[in-house]
Symmetry: C2
Subunit: 252 residues, 2 copies
């Protein structure tokens, strides 16, 4: 539902069993899917969706995403994601989200995303100046979570796995799905760890697109001395595909 | 939406990018998820949902599923799944589905499912007699696809892989997700094969529940002399977890 001035859009959803992790909460991969779908709906509704970009030979690419959760949305409850645009410049646009528990009316979390456009032919970053119409929709609605810090490659992994991308990992653009990148990171922690801890904050940066048949190395390690904070990375050949940082808190 | 006599329920959906395989069609795993969600909605609406079964110490378990498609639902289009109950006896209930392309009004496929109940404590099949209320909702609406034939273990695999179940494969009941079983089967065929062929019919039988950390062997082989028909199986230790049969047709 778009607001009358079209500055925000609210996407309502109920969390089904298939959307959940083994702790009966929305999986991070599914939450990110909903964030992307909500962004896409709003962009379409204000005339800056994928269709419009294709007419300029460009496509939107999700570059960075950060989520912070006071409570993890849980099974059979109703939520809404509210989205708005914080900024746009030649290189990128910032789009934020609020996650609301519809039954209690309370905000359970926020997300920040950064979108770039790429030139479909060169696969290089494209100039967003053609989308100056987007400036009309910028709002100063607050998003009270920190912007994403610099994510770093994992230098001394305490956990490591390899994985070859297969048929069901490939999306409509012939790249690896966002879901698969996120699951590969989530899977660096054992089921028992997830039973004892939940995500407080999840940061991810998409650096390079992986393809069918490529072999990924997934690594993770504690982030300095901060308790409960970990860095993770996915590398394919010499390329850093994805960097992430997860902050866990013990469950009550 | 339930019909006035509650004999059918229609679940509407639009296929987003995240629901698709690399051929811009609904993935089989996502179609099965929607089938399960539609079944759950109808069962809840007529008072035989999971909540009711729990009060009898039982839970619904999807035992077998068959899908036949004249066309595979594709990206950005609107569809509906219509469900109804064909039969119930002490051991199982048959529930069928029709997949309708809402824009053209044409039926693009059908599905048949067989549900059993298990006793939550013994994990053994439970007696469905307590759910005789379900008999009221049986209809003779036709489902013009064949019932599932006997699926057989793969004796001489032409394709084989192993996989260990990880955190993101585990569902709210601490078993492996239906999605993961289906993807493991789908992944026995390379991306190029899927570009050249589509699923005409998909049969799957869920035999035994797999758990976190178990190692699965996934095998596939042509089914006798029938062109385009393959058997597939997932085994964990000595147990057959899942059996499947896929009938492919070349894309136009």
């Amino acid at each position: 539902m778009t607001s009358p001035d079209q500055h925000t859009l609210a996407h309502h959803f109920i969390i089904t069993a298939a959307d959940c992790n083994s702790q009966r909460e929305i999986s991070i991969a599914h939450l990110v899917t909903l964030i992307i779908e909500t962004a896409t709906e709003h962009a379409n509704s204000i005339g800056v969706g994928f269709d419009r970009l294709i007419s300029h030979g460009m496509s939107w690419v999700l570059s960075r995403l950060s989520i912070e959760l006071d409570a993890v949305p849980s099974i059979n409850r109703r939520y809404k994601l509210v989205t708005w645009v914080e900024s746009i410049n030649r290189l990128y646009s910032e789009r934020n989200f609020e996650i609301v528990d519809v039954e209690s009316g309370s905000r359970v979390g926020y997300a920040r995303t950064i979108w770039m456009a790429i030139d479909m032919e060169s696969r290089r970053p494209a100039d967003l100046s053609a989308l100056h119409i987007l400036e009309r929709y910028i709002t100063d609605r607050p998003c009270p979570i920190a912007k994403q810090g610099k994510l770093l490659p994992v230098t001394a992994p305490t956990s490591e796995a390899t994985y070859m991308f297969v048929t069901s990992d490939i999306d409509i653009n012939r790249h690896v799905t966002t879901r698969r990148y996120i699951e590969l990171i989530i899977d660096r922690w054992e089921l028992g760890f997830w039973d004892a801890n939940r995500v407080k904050r999840f940061d991810i940066a998409f650096r390079h697109e992986a393809r069918y048949g490529e072999v990924a190395t997934i690594t993770a390690a504690p982030h300095g001395e901060s308790a409960g904070v970990y860095d993770a990375a996915i590398q394919c050949g010499g390329n850093v595909t994805t960097l992430a940082r997860i902050t866990f808190v013990p469950r009550a």
